[in-house]
Symmetry: C2
């Protein structure tokens, strides 16, 4: 490039005391104000982290090597950076910020690294897990908006492990998708299907994130749960899961996903459900009433929460495309 075109404000002689402001200035030529703000905060926190820990060159190199290993182990069926974000509590934090829920609606939780795009569409009552060692489970759910009206035609992604605690993609010899499906809610907002009772399982812990957990004396287990994802234009994309109450890992989930409102008891079908859904009366039963929030309501709540949080921090911001940037006017 032609050096005469360099527009970066002159700098040199960078010290502990002036490197941060200079790095921020260096990034200030970007025309997108959201990118500038995100980079400004990123550089500030990265530098403050090093300053407050007095990070040594050895520790810095250990960190860079760790991140390199995390990148190297990523593949089409393994996303170790999501896993790292999960175990550091960042994933659940970002979900809570971006998908705030008004009271009475269904809370979200971590996506995890095992959602795929190859699940097959299923009809009401179909069987989504073919694991013969699992305990058969009837799942009957309703889907409503915050006014209590049923929502028809929502695309619902559902996925769970087999009875050994592994998702289909974790079996190298798998024949195709299993333990996952896509359904649509009917005109009464109902969807129901046959699955197996979820079991607790460890997140993949044979890689760098597993080594980190081991060093920190943390276990890699997640309590038993079933994942759900809901999509319909006009409604906020909901990524959530239902957790089994009294699971041994209920209060120490490796990825911080458990919420009281998402914790359920597995019951028995009993005479009414047995008759209606053609199962025995002691068949395991899971029921849940999901409540989706509209896009407009979510956006308003997100912006309101942002304003409150940033006001508390003394940051004057304005919203651009629903996200805060410094208000310099």
């Amino acid at each position: 490039m032609d050096p005469s075109q360099v527009k970066i404000p002159p700098m040199k002689d960078l010290t502990v005391d002036n490197i941060t402001e200079n790095a921020i200035r260096m990034n200030s030529l970007c025309e997108d104000e959201r990118t500038r703000y995100v980079l400004e905060r990123l550089v500030t926190h990265l530098h403050d982290f090093a300053k407050e820990t007095r990070l040594s060159s050895n520790e810095w190199m250990t960190g860079l090597r760790f991140l390199t290993e995390v990148g190297k182990i990523c593949s089409d069926v393994r996303q170790e950076f999501i896993l790292l974000s999960d175990v550091l509590g960042l994933s659940i934090l970002v979900d809570s910020i971006d998908h705030p829920k008004p009271s009475g609606s269904t809370e979200g939780t971590v996506l995890g690294p095992f959602h795929t795009h190859e699940a097959e569409e299923m009809g009401q009552g179909d069987l989504m897990s073919h694991d013969k060692n699992g305990e058969p489970l009837l799942v009957v759910c309703t889907l409503k908006d915050t006014n209590g009206n049923p929502i028809e035609g929502v695309k619902i992604d559902i996925w769970e492990t087999d009875s050994s605690g592994h998702y289909d993609v974790q079996h190298p010899d798998r024949q195709g998708p299993d333990g996952r499906c896509i359904m649509r809610s009917d005109k009464d907002g109902i969807f129901w299907f046959n699955a197996i009772t979820p079991v607790p399982y460890p997140i993949p812990h044979d890689g760098p994130v597993g080594k980190l957990l081991k060093m920190l004396h943390r276990h890699p287990y997640r309590p038993a749960h079933m994942h759900f994802m809901f999509e319909k234009p006009g409604f906020d994309h909901l990524i959530t899961a239902l957790y089994l109450r009294n699971d041994p890992y209920e209060t120490s989930d490796a990825v911080f996903g458990v919420k009281d409102s998402l914790t359920v008891d597995i019951g028995k079908a009993g005479p009414e459900y047995a008759k209606k859904y053609n199962v025995s009366e002691d068949h395991a039963l899971l029921t849940y009433d999901f409540v989706l929030v509209s896009d407009a309501e979510t956006r308003a709540l997100r912006e309101k929460n942002s304003k409150i949080a940033l006001d508390k921090l003394g940051r004057k911001v304005k919203m651009v495309n629903g996200l805060p940037v410094p208000d310099l006017d």
Copy 2:
């Protein structure tokens, strides 16, 4: 693992307001107090970054994909995470914290990703670059301690690009190391060698870090420089470089490395040097007097700086192995 062995304090229902303290508590079982402190600061800053930017799920995923790409492109001869740390100003910051310099000693600067361990040992006056297109340069240096006494037998790593701005390892068809060598200072603390005049060059910018720079409208250039690394037991490991004054990128170095005290003029040998070093009088000449700091002096200064910086932040710390940890007594 046996769930009855879980020692993690119970938690669930994690929200924007309580996830950080819970994540820190989850990491608190580690017995090493330095690791606990580094993790505590890391989680705090990572979460504060997300809270202050109100990071969206899309931005989070963009960030994770970027880090994955950075990891994927790393190889034996390319360390893209070092490059990322360099362009964010973190590398120069960590060097400044870990290798503080008393006044009168030679300042350090970024290592960069091109140091290797295959350079050959050379004698005084030998030729370290065989690039016939480069401008021949005589380099004559002295090496002293902070009391002005010459230091003998220091291991000195020296490396520079060829005249096209590429290090040897960047040429896929290279025959062996070139433009790099290891020397030893003599009993008068002198080392001298023949090289070529350094040229400005871009850092590797065909990968994710290059894309980041482009998005930020930053150029990838470094001003012309020659790298030096000094090692001798009892002295603080010095990683530094000499920069050419009036280089077009002197005040906009992509990796923030330039310091006034490391900026030099290339002169002419003149009659005295011409005779002594057997070159013509108008042969290009670079001279520099390096000053190394003892381990003990560096450690004392590092601990003093840590105390001052952390006092300013209101953090009560004690030093363990030269690094701060919270002082809980």
